[in-house]
Amino acid sequence: MIEKVVSYIKNKADMYEVYFSDSNLLNIEGESMKPNFVSEGTTKALALRVVVDKKIGVASTLNINNYKECVNNAIKIAKLNNVDKDFKNFAFPDKYKRIINFSKSLVNFGSEDFIKLNKDIVNEVTNLNKNIEFVKIIYYKNMNNRRIINSNGIDVEDKTVDNSFVYTLRLGGEAIDLYDSDVSILTTKNVGETVERLESLFNKQKIKNARVPVMLHQNALSTFLDHTFTFNIDAENVQKGKSLFKNMVGKKIADKNVNICDDGIKKGLINSRSFDDEGVPSKKTDIIKDGVLKGFLYDVYTANKENRKSTGNAVRGLNFIPKIKTNNLVFGKGNKTKEQLIDSIDKGLYIISTMGGHTMNESTGDFSLVVSEGHYIENGKIKYPVKDVMISGNFYDMLNKIECIGKEIKHYDDGYYLPLILFSEVNVIC
């Protein structure tokens, strides 16, 4: 089918890029320990970018039999568009490192196999604490076949498969999520820690307003990165002047122990892949090194604007216009164990989850959040979970006030590889 599209588009456009994806999704859900809903289906998407007289047109369709209309729509938009002086070209062919995220056993994993995995999870949770109830189960498996062809000779194709689950577990008046995602079949490995977190949420106590050290769990830290940091390292936001980091490359923007990179190529990381959605090879990009801002994440368009190479961070979202997105954001580890970090706190908080992350100001990093899962620490010991606490401040001020960084890196959320971090002072409102 894609060949037909290419031959139809060839004579109509000066340049073109054809993106085709065929995905098969398996979604299983339930409101008790027994799943009761299953959905399976395929979505074929065709997304086009064309250039006519130096003007760009974009169109997409989820109805690929209708590809001619899609091509004509893209041409129509291009003709009516302004000339974009910053647009130079689409990506050029390059060398690709082969990264295979296509586990055969996961490909064959179906609803009956999930029922078995679900039983294992239910058993393990129930064995640890028989009073825990299953409020919600959501499982997704996504198989995707991508092919990208453009007028510069790029023709690349790959297949990926990944899966994730979220179990909402409840004990008395508290509930938290058991989460995992991977490119292979999931296991019960996160059950123990999650049950422990849930069991430790009882007898919450109030504390007093203070500016105190705060240790962020990977889960809480990923909220900040997701809702403000990724915005500010997006080259488009930098070029448009929306990013706080504009004109800051080479300057110190964080504590000297802060190292952050985007790694799209390391084997085993969930979003690693050979090439991005424009056909550019994936790579590792330093963003902050020893507290100094090194650079940003680029797609071809923003890279061309600065005469540099794309970092391979283009993705196509729901509306099929390429955007810049992190692959795997990796925060460099420190040298402290969790126990050593806690031990160094005189009076402070350990925050595992917050509420309202999406309401923080993405460009400035100002936030005001509810601590939904946090513990009071005194004299190096976790004392009790806290009640009715908010934290407030600015994330970039916090990045400059880092006391210590943990030595263990954990995968949280989709593509965040993070340590525990102890910040020296945060506003705590009670």
Binding site: E29, E31, M355, G356
Partner: protein
């Protein structure tokens, strides 16, 4: 369609639905008076949902090969049914009805050139560094048929403009976000002008503002924030999936009991032609106005067929799914706080020291323990009954059951706000319609 229904019934299904969607969309992203992206997008989709031995199976594709879809849905549902998940639907009367959004000018008939001219016409005011406008229009036809004989169609037309304004003064940056959205035609587009203007003005004015002092204060909240409050603090807790799992703070035992001040009435009205308008839900149920809190008493929940059957109540038509592939779950549509009788000045006068909070980037609720947070995009100090200087944006937090009785005054100036609500990874259109309200004491985030 009848032959497919018969085919599914012969294969042993207890109930079956067939769905189809046809969608055409234009998106134009304009930054600083030049087009950044423009695209035409179209989609066609077909799906079936079957109830088979107590399990629900859905399958979908871009082709109307319903037999194949039925086979896949049954195969998967059969795997789940071995564990006896026990879903039951009650039987309902067939409904045959067509719904259509009336518009004078369908946006799909408007030349791209005209849309471009309109969008490029918005000029930045001094202090605004970036003005980002994302325009979208959508023509969508959704058809629903089920084994009870229902046959429904909704021809929808929507128009929207999302406005981001980024301001800068020296080293201080601020950003502000607002939106204009409507079910209707292109003749409404000029109504977005005021949204664009206000968003830029707010972004500039916030530059000079100081941080708020955090703590417990009386607050006056505007229509938008009051709407978010109704949505976050009450609406979610009234979604019946939470109630039947006994994880809602507004639990069954509170039904019919007084949980808020007498002057508070909150409803979900899906038939009102606001942004959350849902003439029938994704289970083919029409429904109407569901009163959640009536004069302070807990009065209603939002149901799917599944939750209604378990709780022995009537469905309300709130079973909404983001796409044909998703599970319909109880969702809000148009959340409404009925007008009270206080005017703005009288409400402000009742506050000695507190805050006037306006606008919102949204909020979040833990329905189980009742904890919620909602963000305010604008914040003003109130001293001795007077609204004074602007402060930096902040957030409010509290607990549903603690805060409801603390709503002491309700304004008479209801206004609509539009948005999307996320639950279990599914985003659906919602609106909130509320007047100003005064809360006697709430926790405000800020510096210590």
């Amino acid at each position: 369609m009848e032959s497919y229904i018969k085919y599914a019934q012969e294969k042993g299904t207890d109930y079956i639905e067939l769905h189809s969607v046809n969608n055409k969309q234009t998106i134009i992203d304009v930054q600083n008076r030049s087009i950044k992206d423009a695209s035409f997008n179209s989609a066609k989709g077909f799906s079936v949902r079957v109830l088979y031995n107590g399990a629900l199976g859905t399958s979908y594709s871009d082709r109307d090969d319903y037999k194949k879809l039925i086979d896949i849905a049954i195969k998967n549902a059969r795997a789940l049914s071995k564990e006896n998940p026990g879903i039951k639907f009650n039987e309902y009367k067939a409904v045959k009805k067509r719904f259509k959004i009336k518009c004078k000018v369908n946006p799909s008939d408007v030349d791209f050139e005209d849309k471009k001219k309109k969008l490029l016409g918005y000029k930045q005011i001094p202090g605004i560094k970036v003005l980002d406008l994302i325009y979208g229009d959508n023509n969508r036809i959704y058809r629903f048929v089920n084994s009870e004989g229902s046959n429904l169609e909704f021809k929808d037309v929507t128009l929207g403009l999302v406005v981001y304004a980024y301001s800068q003064k020296g080293k201080v940056n601020e950003s502000f976000l607002d939106t204009y959205r409507i079910h209707g035609g292109y003749e409404n587009i000029d109504n977005a002008d005021v949204t664009v203007r206000n968003t830029m003005r707010n972004a500039v004015e916030t530059l000079d503002a100081k941080y708020v002092k955090g703590g417990d204060f009386p607050v006056l909240i505007d229509q938008k924030l009051a709407g978010v409050f109704a949505h976050e603090a009450v609406g979610h807790a009234c979604e019946a999936d939470f109630v039947l799992k006994n994880v809602s703070a507004l639990k069954k035992e509170l039904f019919g009991k007084k949980i808020a001040s007498n002057n508070l009435t909150i409803a979900d009205n899906k038939q009102k032609l606001k942004w959350g308008y849902t003439p029938f839900d994704n289970e083919g149920f029409v429904g109407g106005n569901t009163i959640l809190i009536k004069n302070g008493m807990l009065n209603g929940y939002l149901h799917t067929k599944e939750t209604a059957a378990v709780l022995g109540m009537e469905p309300t038509g709130n079973g909404r799914a983001m796409t044909l592939s998703n599970k319909p779950i109880p969702r809000m549509t148009n959340t409404i706080i009925e007008n009270g009788d206080s005017n703005f000045n009288e409400m402000a006068r009742s506050i000695k020291r507190g805050y006037y909070l306006k606008g919102s980037r949204g909020g979040e609720t833990n329905v189980l323990n009742g904890q919620f947070l909602f963000n305010a995009q604008e914040c003003f100090l109130i001293e001795n009954g007077e609204v004074k200087q602007r402060m930096k944006p902040t957030s409010l937090s509290g607990n549903i059951l603690d805060i409801l009785p603390k709503i002491s005054l309700i304004g008479n100036d209801s206004r609509e706000d539009t948005g999307f609500c996320g639950k279990d990874g599914q985003y659906v259109t919602v609106s909130e319609n509320a007047p100003h309200i005064k809360i006697d004491l709430a926790k405000v985030g800020g510096q210590v």
